[in-house]
């Protein structure tokens, strides 16, 4: 029981517990805050797995930008004051199916014992090396992803624009 495995099990239980709390909260702001904790835990897990650049990137992008965007939408749309049954009885079939699959896979993962007791060699991807690797081998993917981000930006602007014209339900009053 090395120190790395102790840290790993602590982080794993932290991530699982905060995610479970996040998906069962009635208040949406509480759920997002729990998920922020979960992302911080998984950022520490990335650092343990030898990816410090990705850990920092996760904190900045996921916990810092995406969850803040969620909070903005929740607070401005006032979605946290809706009355919502926590687990709707109408949806029991998908809940049961996916719950069973989740429990089965979880039990399979926990009890599966690799014969050779694989010990992971600790490694560390220095950001400089990581950057060189990415830009040497995957430069095309970076260009494509930047184009995708541009398209997403324009799309979000177009969708979120408050239009001058009234919505379609009002303009088709007398005509078909």
């Amino acid at each position: 029981m090395t120190i790395y495995s102790i840290i790993f099990y602590f982080l794993a239980t932290l991530i699982l517990a905060t995610t479970a709390m996040a998906i069962t909260r009635r208040n949406l702001v509480h759920a997002v805050i729990y998920l922020i904790f979960s992302f911080f835990g998984s950022a520490m897990l990335f650092y343990l797995f030898g990816a410090p650049f990705l850990a920092v990137l996760e904190v900045i992008i996921y916990a810092g930008a995406i969850m803040v965007l969620f909070l903005f939408v929740v607070i401005m749309m006032r979605a946290d004051t809706g009355d919502e049954r926590l687990f709707a009885a109408r949806q029991w079939l998908p809940i049961a199916v996916f719950g069973l699959i989740y429990i089965a896979i979880g039990m399979g993962i926990i009890t599966a014992d690799p014969n050779s007791r694989i010990t992971l060699k600790t490694a560390r991807a220095a950001p400089k090396v990581f950057g060189q690797f990415i830009f040497e081998n995957h430069w095309l993917s970076i260009e494509i992803v930047s184009l995708l981000l541009l398209v997403a930006l324009v799309g979000a602007l177009v969708i979120g624009r408050r239009s001058r014209r009234p919505p379609i339900a009002q303009t088709t009053n007398g005509e078909l």
Partner: protein, 83 residues
């Protein structure tokens, strides 16, 4: 757990939250496997997963805001206009 969040919660925002949970789970898996095989490809994939997740979250939330303005409801069972 992300898929449970998607099917069990009756609010549009929680569906997108479940998708984010699933993407984070994939990221953890990829980084762990890149440590197992001592290969940097997994971390490269995770970098692109982060970028794509950011893009789809922004589009998804913009769509939710637009749909809320159109219908005034956050319940997915109210969006059954095809029935």
């Amino acid at each position: 757990m992300g898929i449970l969040c998607v099917v069990a919660r009756r609010s549009l925002i929680m569906i997108v939250l479940g998708i984010e949970i699933m993407l984070n789970a994939v990221a953890i898996l990829l980084v762990g496997s890149s440590l197992l095989w001592q290969h940097l490809e997994g971390q490269a994939i995770v970098l692109f997963v982060f970028a794509i997740a950011g893009a789809e979250v922004s589009i998804g939330l913009a769509l939710i805001v637009w749909a809320y303005r159109q219908t005034g409801s956050m319940d997915p069972s109210d969006y059954n206009l095809l029935k």
